[in-house]
Amino acid sequence: MRVVVVLKQVPDLVEEFEIDSDGTDIDREYLTFLLNEFDNHALEEALLIKDATGAAVEVVALDDPDVDQALYTAIAKGADRAVKLVGASGEGWLDTHTRAAAFAAWLGGEGYDLVLTGVQAADDLDGQLAPMLGALLGVPHVSVVVGVEAADGAARVRQEFAGGAVSELDVPLPAVIGVQAARAEPRYAAITKIRQAQQEGGLEQIDIDRPATSSGLTVRRMYPPERSDRAEMLTGTEAEVADKIIALIRDRGLMQG
């Protein structure tokens, strides 16, 4: 069984975001890019399937910022193959429609059984990859998934709903799954193993054409949310702020005693 995990780098959300001079995109220059956390869960789920069945796990990504680091980390965690598709990305944001077209074109020539990717990414302005990929490949897809057990050409997947309700579904393979959370917390790779993977350089680079696709959207403007009714910030030392918070909850009658 071949399990392909599609990875994407996104800006670290903890950093300060600024808008570029055109006012239609974020300024990427000083941002740090990390693996989309849901893709990390997708990778973990794939590795759990490998642990259980001996499936081969392959990771694939476009030429996103600092993507080599993510791909080598995946190898260090146990991925059997890492592929970087070069040629689809230009400067700046790449829409999900173009990403999906690039991955679908590549996957179409590969004999995959299961494709896993994160349920969403923070910059999915034009939609989520997993369902789009499923539709383009013409295979069943399930998203918001919290567990995949695959064997003998079929997978049982657990799809999560509001309030934590979970629906169990059976899908024949091949299929595309959007992972919300793996059955276990994503494993860590030892730094030494990541370095070793980097030194061995086992990253396959494949040139592709930029798909003739677009999102059909025109971003008129990007801006930080308007701060009109933003929180009143409490200032002072820890002790002073603590006094203020305690006073606020006491005034509302929320303190016992």
Binding site: Q128, M132, P140, G163, L169, E185, A231, K244, I245, L248
Partner: protein
Amino acid sequence: MSNDVLVVAEHSDSTLTDGTFELIGAARGIADSWGGQVVVVLVGDAALASQVVGADLVVTADAAQLSDYTSEAYESVLAGQIRQREPGAVLISMSTKGLDLAAALSAACGCPLVSYVVGLEVDGETLVATAQIYGGKIMAEVAIESRPAICGVIAGSFPADAGSAAGAANVEAADPPDLATLRTTFVALRTPDAGDVDITAADLLVAVGRGIGSEDDIELVQELADALGAPVAASRPITDAGWLPKSRQVGKSGLKVKPRGYLMFGISGAPEHLEGMRDAELIIACNTDEQAPVFDVAHYGTTLDLFDLLPELTERASG
């Protein structure tokens, strides 16, 4: 191509969700400026058509294969409706079903999609959506140049009452799609066990997020909660990691809470978390990132380090 706006209805426990009425209200605004109708597509349980108010037409699709949700079956119905009716816009909630369906419909029907939509307006004839990206840190105003335009809307973005204005709609059954070739099969729906505490019943909640950094430090939050006589609630990464039980999770895939007080430590305020608590009466957030979206919903905030603030609070609350 019509000027109609199609709304994908959502239901649970034989009741249409609030989100459905929010979408009907938003659809009405767009349909009025385009001179079109609001058409609600109701998949699964045709009997719920009588609950629809505020729309012009309800199209029902009812079949054994549609009684339990699968993306494949719903998608075949909805794609059929989009192709047949060629609406100007399609509104769908960004719930699990929306996350499952919207992007697939976009690819299958070749129409543009904006997700995380929180605002919609018509400029000339063009539909302009405002979307929340980067975990709520940035807003994007996006013109959708071609039709039908699919919009995945974040729950709570539009008032539900606008869509529940009186007025019964006509009801018609959809042309049945071919459901014989479906590959996905529904097995069972499992509802979570009730937890040790019911966080939806508490007056005050102390909520912790990934900023806490490690399982061992959950204790610092627990100590404050104990001193205040309040339960500890959490964001998703904390329950995913198993640091607290799932029954403590607040948000889209957790519980919706409306306590009188909600104290937040190390939670960024992603839209999926805010969905579960934005109606709390008093929200106080501690987050070292002054740009964190949580400060857009909190009433009071502090950028102090939670590790410095928690012990001070616990000391005072125990006093």
